[in-house]
Amino acid sequence: MAHLELENLTKRFSGVASVDAINLSVEHAEFICLLGPSGCGKTTTLRMIAGLIEPDAGEVRVGGKVLSSPRGVIPPERRNMGMIFQSYAVWPHMTVGQNVAYGLKMRKVPPAERHKRTEAVLRATRLTQLADRYPAELSGGQQQRVALARAVTSQPDILLLDEPLSNLDANLRGDLRLEIRRLHEEFRTTSIYVTHDQVEAMAMADRIVVMNLGRIEQIGTPQEVYDRPRSKFVARFLGGSNVIDAVHLSGKAVEVAGRALEIGEGEFAGPGKPMSFCVKTHDLELVPDLQAGGNNTLNAIVRGQTYLGSHRDYVVDIGQEVLVAAPASLDLPRGSKVLIRFRADRCRGLIQ
């Protein structure tokens, strides 16, 4: 039995479904990321899991027990979960120590043990010397560490993280990311992490749930989701991919700009029907010599380039704009005519 199950979970605001009948199973100790743009419903889903919002339809189950349903909701205080917020939500009128110990206080843990456990966590998160300070005296990064410590201390069944790194400076994000992952390794708490940053998701998650407009687009490991996106949206959102419009010919062949191309795998629309396929920018080869020939190539005109040190990103026009990663040594001016070679096994057909 999965640890956390969402079945047909739905929430409507003003008649519009913000979360639309999503289904998800999370195993014990899994680290799941809900990834998507603003408004995709990921935070609403998280808040329903927390019990802060009531669902309009569907269920939230933990360990088989129904926690949320349209018929009733077990309130947050009885779910034994932990949560980290984007705004840190560290209580400004309590010291760091009091913040961290709060969960234990609510669970009526006796003072002596409370003290012991709080000390332990403060040591583990290197916050001991800040124990008597107030949040206003701390930096953003330190406050979020306090929030982490607070969540970990109460030893929750499930840890919910709502874009915890969004408010931090870029250099701090890396450190805190490692911290979160480290604590996960140590405590093996089932974790649901919400973010709009695909780099974060890829770095931290065991599985990624890509969401868009209230629906789940794809669930998979970072590699699955990145390498084998199953929809245009996932392909674009995870980044690094081109999504090219084409028309299905037959079998694994599609037509682009009047030419036929072979695709490796994926979903095909049906002969004569329009579809797309995705291919990574670094899986395309920019061939400056028009005479080179070869299968699976298309003619293109260079529209522009950006030198990025390790490589160059070229924008080329095959009838649509395509981004190609080329070696840094290859420097072509605008308007150059080139060939773009497609590796069939690196192209994936998409119908959504």
Binding site: A50, G72, V73, P75, E77, R79, H93, M106, A136
Partner: protein, 572 residues
Amino acid sequence: MRPAADAIEGTPERSSARSIDWTAPFSIVMALLLASLVLLPMFWLALTSLRDDSGRFTLEHYRQLVVDPAFLKPLANTLWTSCAVGALCVIAAAPMSWLVSRTDLPGKRLLRVLILASFVTPPFLGAFAWVLLGGPNAGLLNQWYYGLFGLKPFEAAPLLNIFSASGMVFVIFLYTFPYVFTFVANSLDLIPSELEEASAILGASPFRTALHITLPLGLPALLAGFLVAFLQSMTLFGPPAILAMPAGIDVITTKIWSLFQFPPRLGLAAAASLPLLPITVALLRAQTLILGRRGYAVISGKSGGRQLIRLGAWKVPALALFALVLGCSIALPYGVLLRTSFVKNWSRPLADNLTLEHWRFVFLEFSQTKLALQNTFVLGIAAATAGTILVTAVGYLSLRKIVWGHRSLAFLANAPVAIPGIVLAVGLFLSYTRPPLVLYGTLWIIFFAYLTKELPVGYQQISASLKAVHPELEDASRIFGATRLRALFDITAPLIRNGVIATWIFIFIGSIRELSATILLFTARTKTISVTMFDLRESNDWGPIAVLSTTMLLITFGMVAVIYRFTDRRPT
């Protein structure tokens, strides 16, 4: 259903699949309470205006209102004097707030405190003081003027005659400009200085910048301030009664009051009151449209963080402006009241004139002092406490959007701002001088008047405070095991503590200085200080008036200072 008192103690919830939702019935109770406070009086007002003495439907009262010059003239007077007050406030407050917000004027903190003092001074008290200062022949300023130029009273025109429409406008202005100042200063505080710096780089002097850049940016606030000043002026009773009536000039509030003199012509009074409502509603809508969703703003001491314009030698005339306005609203009036309380004959020089007889009279002989003080305080404390609890509950329910219909709750809490004090009093009188609930003659009816009237101020204060508490702070506490009520107690309450205290103070001060509603609702045993002072004016007893005024000011400022000391100083 869980009553509110129980909820704060945090009794543990029973275990069940669905948590007991106390918020719905609680908010229904709140809504009913608010509705009865606000809507009931208005209902009776409308009803009475349409009925004649025998209870039959009639439009006679309204007809009289429209044709009788005895009504049209006061209405016209009200409109033009309120416009004048608004204009004067804007003309004075605009440069003052610009100077405080955008320049390196010295002593800003003190100036803001003094402006706050103007805000807190009851206008009728200022009117009393200005009678002593600006009475055309015996007023101290006029006497000084005559002396300076060797003129004789009654033969030469006085420097100023406070017993006139313009005198009244002047005095109302002195105690209304803080509203406009606050609006404009707060909005100027928000303008990034880069906008002005850009102008300076292009060659404009500070004053041209002020004219072409800052002024247009501050225009919405100026307009909104004008509207508020207009509204304030329209609803005042004290200054018109003290300064305009002796000159034979009536405004709508004094007219309504005169309709209440026995035998009261309630139908006419009701009909005369009602037209004020659509005017105020229209002005408030205009204000909201101009300002966006910001309503009241609180005076705060925002400093620096931006480039201030250097005044150089212009500091002197700038400070002179403040000295002039604040001198007229604070220094001179407080001074003359203090002086008058210690002299036998207020218009004669100090020599041979000092006495303690007025103080002795007021505190040892005057049988009404003790009762009036008691009533004023009981009412102030009761209204402040009940009001704070009410607006906090309504504010919380409304801002956290906990219940369906939370917008109506917020609307009801703000509605009384559209009801002038005297109109509310007429409505309350009509509601509570009939069975089943006859409250006229008790302190209750005055308590309701104060509570209702101060709701909007309290609500604005508390919602500003609540808005500053991120809802996630409460969510976090619930995640970690606190019930909603526990979260309120542990998290929200400490964080809004300062806001709650400020709300209490605002409502308390607003209540103890109230006159325009009390003047219709009081009886012999339910007199307040303001009404007692007003009564003493009838017989020209300026000594006792001065003593009571000084006492009232001391108490007001004393309470503000005491409570300020107890506000939380922990870093938040």
